[in-house]
């Protein structure tokens, strides 16, 4: 039986609801921009970052958003590369969300630079041995490819590019997350990093966070515009999210088990798993329990089957856990001291050698990070309003075509 013809239309909902939401997002963005100006104008001394913990909360937000961006594109890839009929109608929105999240993350990353006004230097001077330089190319390419992909999905005239761009976007997003993971994987100096598993782990993290973002924004959009969203389709997404959440837990397990085997890395493992105080609590409570076990239970327990609220909550928890996971990778990885002198303890040093570095993020850093999320959401809200990315109805197709 042929599937019902899909009609896409711009996101329309009652004005107060739409403009109210947009106004709230704009307000958050303005606060974030003011924070960025304050930090740049005074210098980074007003932040919690130092020469010991050089990347702080803005980087956690930025990496989180960039990782999620490539994952958000997965829904489109499943539709076009792997031919999933239930996913295909969601492809356009998936592309839009991916662009939005990446833009949000990059704004945060850029505004935290010591010299953000030198962006032109960053795009005219390339050191091709640097993963960062590669990432600049990967990010720009992502915007271009996903942009064309989106166009091919929306415009009938560009349909001939659909398949090619679909494949290109899929491979590009894999490269992008590999690049993001490798930012850490290539740092030989620090014990928490320097592991090849970082790159594939970041890919699976992106699957999970990206899909969680997708489910939440899709549900919000359909709630906003009072459109129909079928339970069957949502259940498919939900089950897929469960698989990804489990996979992230598995990769974390392998990462830590590998480290536990290497005597040299016992210190940093002990720090994260046992006696790192705040970081240990964050790991077990935030990453493992809130971000892993509880969502898995909510997604798979028959008690919550067909419960939309549970799906939304589980997705939010996955995002919170994911944020914590990145926080631990970025911050705890730097806070734990580098071993410069194996077999020796540092009695004194003016530069915090051998001691756990302190980091408490400032409000401005948090505001800049939140602005990144707000920018992503604003782009999605405006994009969905002006482009035909969302089907008028996502009610379940006939049972036989499922």
């Amino acid at each position: 039986m042929p599937m019902k013809k899909l009609h896409y239309s711009e996101l329309w909902c009652s004005s107060p609801r739409y403009w109210g939401g947009l106004a709230a997002l704009t307000f958050i963005i303005l606060l974030g921009m003011a924070s960025a100006y304050y930090m740049e104008h005074s210098g980074h001394w007003v932040t919690g970052m130092s020469n010991q913990v050089v990347w702080g909360l803005p980087h956690v937000f930025a990496i989180f958003l960039i990782v999620a961006a490539s994952g958000a594109l997965n829904v489109a890839s499943i539709g076009s590369v792997f031919g999933g009929p239930l996913y295909k109608p969601l492809g356009r929105f998936s592309g839009l969300l991916a662009i939005g999240l990446l833009a949000g993350g990059l704004v945060v990353l850029l505004l935290d630079l010591g010299r953000p006004e030198r962006l032109i230097v960053a795009i005219t001077h390339f050191n091709f041995k640097s993963i960062f330089a590669w990432n600049i190319i990967l990010y720009t390419g992502f915007f271009t490819i996903v942009g064309i992909y989106l166009w091919a999905m929306i415009d009938r005239k560009a349909q001939k590019f659909y398949e090619a761009t679909g494949f290109a976007a899929f491979f590009w997003r894999l490269a992008l997350t590999t690049g993001t993971g490798s930012i850490f994987g290539f740092l030989v100096a620090r014990e928490a990093y320097d592991a090849a598993i970082m790159a594939p782990m970041f890919i699976i993290m992106s699957f999970s966070y990206g899909l969680a973002f997708f489910i939440i924004t899709l549900m919000s959009a359909y709630w906003w515009s009072s459109r129909e969203l079928g339970s069957h389709r949502l259940e498919k997404l939900k089950n897929l999210l469960g698989v990804f959440v489990g996979a992230v837990l598995y990769f974390s397990l392998v990462y830590h088990l590998t480290n536990l085997y290497i005597t040299q890395h016992h210190g940093v493992e002990r720090f994260i798993l046992l006696d790192g105080g705040f970081y240990t609590v964050m790991f077990w409570l935030g990453q493992v329990t809130i971000g892993g076990i509880i969502p898995l239970f909510m997604l798979y327990s028959p008690a919550f089957s067909d419960n939309r609220f549970a799906i939304a909550i589980a997705s939010v928890l996955v995002l919170i856990g994911g944020f914590v996971q990145i926080y631990i990778i970025v911050i705890a990885g730097q806070a734990y001291p580098m071993t410069l002198f194996p077999g020796k303890e540092v009695v004194s040093s003016s530069f915090y050698d051998g001691v756990v570095a302190a980091y408490s993020p400032s409000l401005a850093e948090g505001m800049l990070g939140l602005a990144g999320i707000a920018i992503a959401m604003t782009l999605v809200a405006v994009g969905a309003r002006v482009l035909k990315v969302l089907p008028e109805s996502l009610e379940d197709p006939g049972a036989d075509s499922a």
Partner: protein, 259 residues
């Protein structure tokens, strides 16, 4: 036929023009060349790969509680001109202020042996900071000095993440005063450059070595690793020395004995 006759004349004209241009060029360029020749081994000449600057630090001679090298470095490179921002706590100031060289005191976990040493940029042959820098601002000169081009540094701090020696500092605040020798700017990264301004003007010691020598400790020896006749090369041949984190195989330019 006429064409053939005219040819030699034309050639002469060309020759004349050519020679005039050559002469004019020589007249205007010569002073520059002569000046460069006259200033050989001083300012203006590029770094040579026939040289590799390095250092040997004898931890046995490094005295507990002595900070002569640190103080000298701070003065030489204008670090002491940096002011603690109003409202910043002492602990945070210490974590955020630039430190090109620092004193570290160690105790062996097994034997209890205590060692003192100065830590700074180790001027690796294969510097991770240079590998990761997206713009190429972090670079290694032909003579082995690793430093930051502060015109192209965007302040991303990836080099600080990559450095195994924690040798780099980010400028967290506005810079009020600075020296011509060591220009500095908010939002850029910097680190020990083996007193590159001294090296480029022909000096054979760094500020830290001078200070250590002056106090009579003589724990720091600066010199050319590639010159077999240099004091440094001879000392390295005599004593057994080691690199910090030799496992990373970065072939550091700074070596330590009695560590």
């Amino acid at each position: 036929m006429t064409g053939k006759k005219e040819q030699p004349q034309d050639m002469k004209r060309r020759e004349f023009i050519g020679k005039t241009v050559l002469a004019a060029g020589a007249v205007s360029v010569a002073p520059g060349i002569l000046l460069t020749v006259a200033n050989a081994k001083t300012e203006g000449e590029g770094a040579s790969s026939n040289i590799r600057w390095g250092m040997l630090i004898d931890s046995n001679k490094c005295v507990d509680n002595c900070t002569a090298c640190v103080d000298a470095c701070n003065q030489e490179n204008g670090i002491d001109l940096m002011q603690q921002p109003k409202g910043q706590g002492d602990e945070m100031w210490n974590a955020q202020r630039p430190q090109w060289i620092r004193k570290v005191k160690l105790r062996d976990r097994q034997t209890g042996e205590v060692t003192n040493l100065p830590m700074m940029c180790q001027h690796c042959e294969f510097p991770p900071c240079v590998d990761v820098c997206p713009t190429g601002a972090s670079f290694k000169r032909a003579d082995g000095i690793v430093m930051v081009d502060r015109h192209t540094c965007i302040g991303c701090r990836y080099c600080m993440m990559a450095c195994p020696y924690k040798a780099r500092s980010f400028i967290h605040q506005n810079v009020q005063e600075q020296t011509v020798r060591a220009p500095r700017g908010k939002g850029c990264v910097e680190s020990c450059n083996l007193c590159v301004h001294r090296v480029d003007s022909g000096a054979s010691t760094t500020a830290c070595q001078d200070a250590c020598d002056k106090d009579g400790h003589k724990a720091i020896l600066f010199g050319d690793l590639k010159d077999p006749e240099s004091q440094l090369s001879k000392a390295l041949k005599e004593k057994s020395s080691r690199q910090i984190r030799a496992d990373l195989e970065l072939n550091t330019g700074v070596r330590y004995t009695s560590l």
